[in-house]
Symmetry: C2
Subunit: 200 residues, 2 copies
Amino acid sequence: MGNKSTRDHIVESADQLFYQQGFEHTSFADIAGVVKISRGNFYYHFKSKDEILDAVINLRLTDTAKMLGLWDGMSETPADRIRSFINILVTNRAKIKQHGCPVGTLVNELARLDHAAKSNASKIFSLFRGWLSKQFLQMGCGGESDGLAMHLLARSQGVASLATAFQDEAFIYLEVKQMNDWLDKCIKAHPLPEIQAPQV
Amino acid sequence: MGNKSTRDHIVESADQLFYQQGFEHTSFADIAGVVKISRGNFYYHFKSKDEILDAVINLRLTDTAKMLGLWDGMSETPADRIRSFINILVTNRAKIKQHGCPVGTLVNELARLDHAAKSNASKIFSLFRGWLSKQFLQMGCGGESDGLAMHLLARSQGVASLATAFQDEAFIYLEVKQMNDWLDKCIKAHPLPEIQAPQV
DNA sequence: CTAAAAATAGGACAACCGTCCTACACGACG
DNA sequence: CGTCGTGTAGGACGGTTGTCCTATTTTTAG
């Protein structure tokens, strides 16, 4: 019951290693060392390394969807939900400083290798994009919503990238504050007519 | 005279390949195939792959410094010089869409591999950072200059990252326009007292 | 308890990696 | 002509990679 299957162990360990070391730089021996499994036994669970990658991507997809669902239930206003997104930069600042954004690094690595799973990996980005877009739409941003979602996604990626390059956590705090300020401006620019207080 | 040395050929080819395929994914055989040189002969010019990496980083450092110097001589106002920086996103949009930002991808790959040259590579970022900071300072942004430089650098990185992930050149144009608008606001927020037109 | 099935261990394999070594080509200079 | 230094070619080397195969153990089902 509480026992995770070996397969799940493999996928979770590969997930972490792919994040910390990259997909290509992670070998079967590395994963086997963590899971404490024989190298040969791998091919009982997965036919190839790419199959493990697919499983990892699917895990991240479901985990992400789960997290977004959680945020949906946690906050009342769409703006607060967007703030949940912005704040993962602060929450994961230590790991981001070391290894960058889990999503961005994987997608960009696969794009560079021209790997078959690259489009699959970018679906994780699409998940965030669609979710953010939905929140902006609920805020009343209309046709600009998708653009705003992409904008916020891009800024997050940029912050993660530079925090890694310069080994700078303080920069994350600085930019997160700016993003929150930017969001405040968005709110003021789009007063929600349907939620306005009823006129006496 | 016009003849490039074999060593230069190697460095330039490695530079391109490192950009297109990544450092780790580029083998000696790959470089040898482009330069049309024997694999063994490599070690007459470089003692190790890391030495080639150092040479590539140094090449990029000097090339970048050269470009920044060119921009210094090209534009009259610091704001125009910053616009030169912003516009490389548009100029290189096709390559960025395919392989991402040459600087960011290398720095992040080396950071992830925990490679010895990672700090060396991030000097390229520092070059841009210092140069941008100088421009903002000349614009009268004072103590905020470095923060503004980092902010612009981060946004560029984010745009490049998402343009690659989503294979979207149009997004580059969109964000470049926003960055230029943002710069306009910076100009208005910091009227240069010392360059104001002389009062009759 | 026994037989089938699921899971694991360990190693063989061909290919590739970065590294290194030795032999050869070639022009310069005496 | 011969010698020397520079540059090149080609292959050997030990190690690692992803993949695959075959025994052996462990678990399950009748």
